[in-house]
Subunit: 355 residues, 2 copies
Amino acid sequence: MERFEIAVIPGDGIGNEVMPEALRVLEAAGSRYGVEFAFREFDWSCERYKRTGRMMPEDGIEQLRGHDAILLGAVGYPGVPDHVSLWGLLIPIRREFDQYVNLRPVRLLPGLTPPVRDVSPGDIDFWVVRENSEGEYSMLGGRQGEGTPGEMVMQASVFTRRGTDRILRYAFEFARRNRRSLVTSATKSNGIYHSMPYWDERFRAIAEEYPDLSAEQEHIDILTAKFVLRPRHFDVVVGSNLFGDILSDLGPGVTGTIGVAPSANIDPERRHPSMFEPVHGSAPDIAGRGVANPVGQIWSAAMMLDHLGAPEAGAGVLAAVESVLASTAAPLTPDLGGTARTGDLGGAIAAAVAD
Amino acid sequence: MERFEIAVIPGDGIGNEVMPEALRVLEAAGSRYGVEFAFREFDWSCERYKRTGRMMPEDGIEQLRGHDAILLGAVGYPGVPDHVSLWGLLIPIRREFDQYVNLRPVRLLPGLTPPVRDVSPGDIDFWVVRENSEGEYSMLGGRQGEGTPGEMVMQASVFTRRGTDRILRYAFEFARRNRRSLVTSATKSNGIYHSMPYWDERFRAIAEEYPDLSAEQEHIDILTAKFVLRPRHFDVVVGSNLFGDILSDLGPGVTGTIGVAPSANIDPERRHPSMFEPVHGSAPDIAGRGVANPVGQIWSAAMMLDHLGAPEAGAGVLAAVESVLASTAAPLTPDLGGTARTGDLGGAIAAAVAD
Ligand SMILES: CC(C)[C@H](C(=O)O)[C@@H](O)C(=O)O
Ligand SMILES: CC(C)[C@H](C(=O)O)[C@@H](O)C(=O)O
């Protein structure tokens, strides 16, 4: 029996409500598919920050290092500025563990009500491959002339050859491995003068290594419009840290909700633990009421199983999600138009996994 | 009779096909509402670049300076890198004339087929106020270690106090003047470390000057999803150069097409000519076939009339566009599901203006 050590960080807000459901589904998948988990929970969060002045202990990264994977809930809460909470926990984990791929499926699940017309499950089914370690998310920069009329802020983005090539190559490899034929690059080389023409240059160079795949590029402005106008068109979409972030919220939005979308922060070289988290945030507006949708967290756990080398278990969890959402008696949370509670939906999925 | 000197730059691709329709509609509006135009045409374009090595002559900005307004078609064509063509014409005009506001309506016109369900004309009706002079569109930065494995590109964004405050204030003033109650700020202060927290800080400060208006902020990722999920919600959305660019393509995408969307590059202090151009690009794929949709260019001309102080004429042109599109016999171009040609649709609108 395989045994995995999982670091569990529920984080803030609804992170604390959806995480137990994911653990319950993982236990069910473990029994069914012969996988064992040791969960170690960490209370790193904005609450901890308010108490101690730090989102995680100074040796936080070291504490995580020995684990096979990290399951994260959501980070951020009113009263702690976002850029403090995120740069004190989420972003350092992504970077210290060189989780340079953020992989996010965009898939119309059964039971959702998409805002766009004439689409059924199966019609929208693509992947966003987001650069996750550099680019627009950068601490380089600062402010000058604070409080004066001449005040200004400079913000740098950094695109390295190594960082750009490895994410582009990952996108093409992923497309080939998953029988996808088209890789779309998100750019803005007509407006952003240095970094985006460089991104395009590298995209062209890497695309040449994959003559069996089609490659196209679109400026991010029109690309967002095409996500809405032609969502069936896409297969694998690769973007910088910022563009990938935008597209991986917009894509799930087009399927009806970001509440169910998962993500994987991956170190493909497996030198470090990878991290799995829903796309949604801590949702302070509904936190504490037990009505959050646990599917994003559960689907993230399924991606974790795939990554850990238990794809049968991962597929089993995803199939359970789909069959529960498709059933007419599904206990849907309010965001999906139902009246069920977080635990009802999580419980139904856990039961379907065990079945 | 008022007389306006208009600089006309058709530019590239379909710019050359839609511009004559806008001029024809302006002539019709002129006769009807008692306004006279002197049009001076400039052949500045990628074609000119191929011939002369410059998108516009060295004294191009000087040549434009005396005009009351600039009407632009579209810039960019295969064979000339986008960042060359745009930074050689469009962007210098925006900057030299300090057209720091890019104002873009998002409005569901009659006759369009929106990709989202359950919306009718009137349901989607908001404005994007885009910063147009600084931010992410910056020439600061460069490449180091070219061709080596250590190669890297740095791209700076610049947010000044003056530049940030004036666009935010414009958004609030615009909202107040146009009886809009909500201003939404596009941010990404949870990921972009220096510039976006600064943007938020200034947004909070300026919002305090307008206690009669509601103010909210959304991170750009979830904001794009909300454009699709709740397009009725928005009134005035203010964003940086890049975020405003994205939102003003996505918004029209949600209404069914970016082919009809207009934009105004405004110097609100009227020290310099302002520039009016459709949101769409030069569309090389359909250029030369006479089937481009002229509505974006015509609606841009209507915005120009408003700006020139002929709001009756501007409203007349927009009403003509709406009545033509709403009629069952409308000569629609292929992008709108019809078989009409550019001139058919432009002609019908000109006739409706004269009526
Ligand atoms: C062509 C390009 C540089 C331009 C921009 O990004 O400003 C266009 O997309 C626009 O929206 O006017
Ligand atoms: C919370 C925020 C920093 C984060 C990001 O932008 O990376 C989130 O939006 C995400 O997509 O994981």
